[in-house]
């Protein structure tokens, strides 16, 4: 169960975002993708979550190219993007119930407990604060368990004690043989972290 990407190139709206990026990720590791705004962190993560096709280069999971068998690869990954994938007219519990039903799991209560969402679980997400919405979104990581977590700015609107909570969950996930790709500006001082700095790569590509 390892993720391996070779010479990835990304072109968005006729603009070269990054060029010839290689990375590999094995169970028990966290890869911290760093780089200033516009250096392509989000694009790289979306390519690895097969939401975006790279101009060149291949991404392989367990040695097989994800283009050949995307379904299998998608089962093993959970992607958390900038947007909270929550329907405003439904409550946090209903949202999580849908997601766990949709991915054929049934771990909603652990997810709500893990992110301490029980008190606000039944309010429509409309009236929740940004931090509460982000926690409901992150709770999907527990509601739909998957070995590979691809996280784009996961802690951006969380306050400090919930950042600590998320850090423990992330490290627990990695200790149990999971792996994570993390794009964030905050230094979470995680143990067992490798770094991939997109700034150097984009310089070379110029």
């Amino acid at each position: 169960m390892s993720l391996y990407a070779q010479s990835l190139t990304c072109i968005r709206q006729d603009r070269l975002i990054f060029n010839a990026v290689d990375l590999s990720l094995n169970p028990g590791e966290i890869l911290w993708v760093k780089g200033r705004n516009g250096s392509g962190k989000t694009s790289l993560l979306r390519i690895l979550a097969c939401l975006l096709k790279p101009a060149t280069g291949i991404v392989s999971w367990n040695g097989t190219d994800i283009e050949e068998d995307p379904e299998h690869y998608k089962e093993n990954l959970q992607y958390v993007g900038h947007q909270d994938a929550l329907k405003m007219a439904m409550s946090a519990r209903e949202n999580l119930e849908f997601w766990s039903d949709y991915t054929e799991n049934s771990t909603v209560d652990q997810a709500l407990d893990a992110f301490q969402l029980q008190p606000i679980a039944d309010h429509p997400t409309q009236i929740l604060s940004a931090g509460q919405k982000k926690r409901s979104n992150l709770a999907r990581l527990i509601a739909c368990p998957a070995p590979l977590w691809i996280l784009d700015e996961p802690v951006s609107s969380l306050d400090t004690d919930y950042i600590g909570l998320f850090k423990d969950l992330l490290e627990k996930h990695v200790r149990n043989g999971g792996m994570a790709l993390l794009a964030t500006h905050q230094d979470l001082s995680l143990s067992r972290v490798r770094q991939l700095d997109l700034n150097q790569i984009s310089e070379v590509a110029r």
């Binding site: 190139t9 709206q13 006729d14 070269l16 010839a20 110029r206």
Partner: protein
Amino acid sequence: MAIDLHKYANPTRFLRIANAIFPWSIVTTVVLLATGLYLGLFVSPADYQQGETVRIMFVHVPAAWMAMSVYSMMAVSSAAGLIWKHPVADLSAKAAAPIGACFTFLALVTGSLWGQPMWGAYWVWDARLTSMLILLFLYLGYMAVWGSFEDQSKAAKAAAILVLIGAINIPIIKFSVDWWNTLHQPASVATMDGPKIHSSILTPLLIMGLGYTSLFVTIFIIRVRTEILGRRLRMLRVNQLQE
């Protein structure tokens, strides 16, 4: 090692061919149109039923032919663009659309100008004219799609999907309009066929048809060059920002 970004920005092969046949297409267009007009206006006799108005056919029928053949050409090149990712295919469809729209508009207007003396009304909901009107909407929809995407490569794919959906629907629309026409067939209307095509009318008609085709090729080459250079311009401008 870095991919040559400009590889698909300057498909020199296509431009070289286009430049080579460009002067020839101008010459054939002028020659064909001149002979077609001369034969049509001066040589061929007036029709015994419709009199002189039959001469409008020399401008109406070729325009209608071109309207339909340009749309099918756009469908073919869009399919090529989608399936083989050929860089110039979707640009050629984009370049051809305005020309096709002009031909459709001309077919409509000359059709109604021909209708006035024949039926006494500028617009008669005749099956062919109605289908032509719907085809014009399809052209306008296609061109509007290009206009409403910032990212040109997305616009290309969306427009390709739309023109293929349109192409599948054209025979269905044609069939349903003919069906609708026979349902509400007012007895008196003579259809657009007019007289059995006599050779003295057929020859100028065919020549005008070829003349319109080579005119299309000429304008098409100009517009495709503009599209290709336009994409190259966008790419250089965008990447120049980074250097």
